[in-house]
């Protein structure tokens, strides 16, 4: 599973993307974030406040309780500020 990070989430994690294989019991985006948080201090800092995080699964915006089973690409980022 490819994980992408953007904006200050990317900066705190320290990488723009990584390939991971989460355990089978990681069912939704929130659980995936909790699991990713254990990978480094940077990850933990980036994910400290889940209310400030948004996600996309296979390039479609989703809520944090959306399932990740079968996803090829999950992106984690702050609320968007374009336009």
């Amino acid at each position: 599973m490819r994980i992408l990070y953007f904006a200050w989430v990317r900066e705190r994690v320290g990488v723009a993307e990584e390939e991971v294989t989460p355990p089978a019991d990681v069912a939704d985006v929130a659980a995936l974030i909790d699991w990713l948080a254990t990978r480094s201090d940077g990850h933990r800092a980036a994910f400290a406040d889940p209310a400030r995080l948004r996600a996309a699964v296979d390039q479609a915006f989703v809520a944090l309780d959306a399932p990740v089973a079968g996803a090829r690409e999950v992106a984690i980022f702050p609320p968007v500020t374009g336009g």
Partner: protein, 146 residues
Amino acid sequence: MIRITVSPDPIDVAAELARLETDGAGAVATFTGLVRGDDGVETLELEHYPGATERALEQLARSACARWPLAAATIVHRVGAMTPGERIVFVGTASAHRAAALEACAYLIDRLKTDAPFWKRETVGGAARWVEARAGDATAATRWES
């Protein structure tokens, strides 16, 4: 006709307008967003999610075409580094009906602010900071839900 552009190049509004006009409708509405120099902003950087951004903008334009009788919808968003006064975003709509063109243009820019993966980072006094999302943008976007 839908046109989506996400690029680090400056936005040529005259060319975009000309394309909207040649789509044969009588009414063309546009919105242009410029980098503001308020609060001493020196540079603005736009990060985006390549692929997903274009897809989100395409879906947004399609939804506008489904709601209003549009001859054309154009969204151009700049990414990368820019300075105050430069154009960040251009949205344009063409229709036989002026109300459709005006409403669809407002819809596109309101929804773009909340539905497309872009992130702004400002540099002020040499220090960079990520711009926080504004509650007002989410409110403006919800007025189109129905």
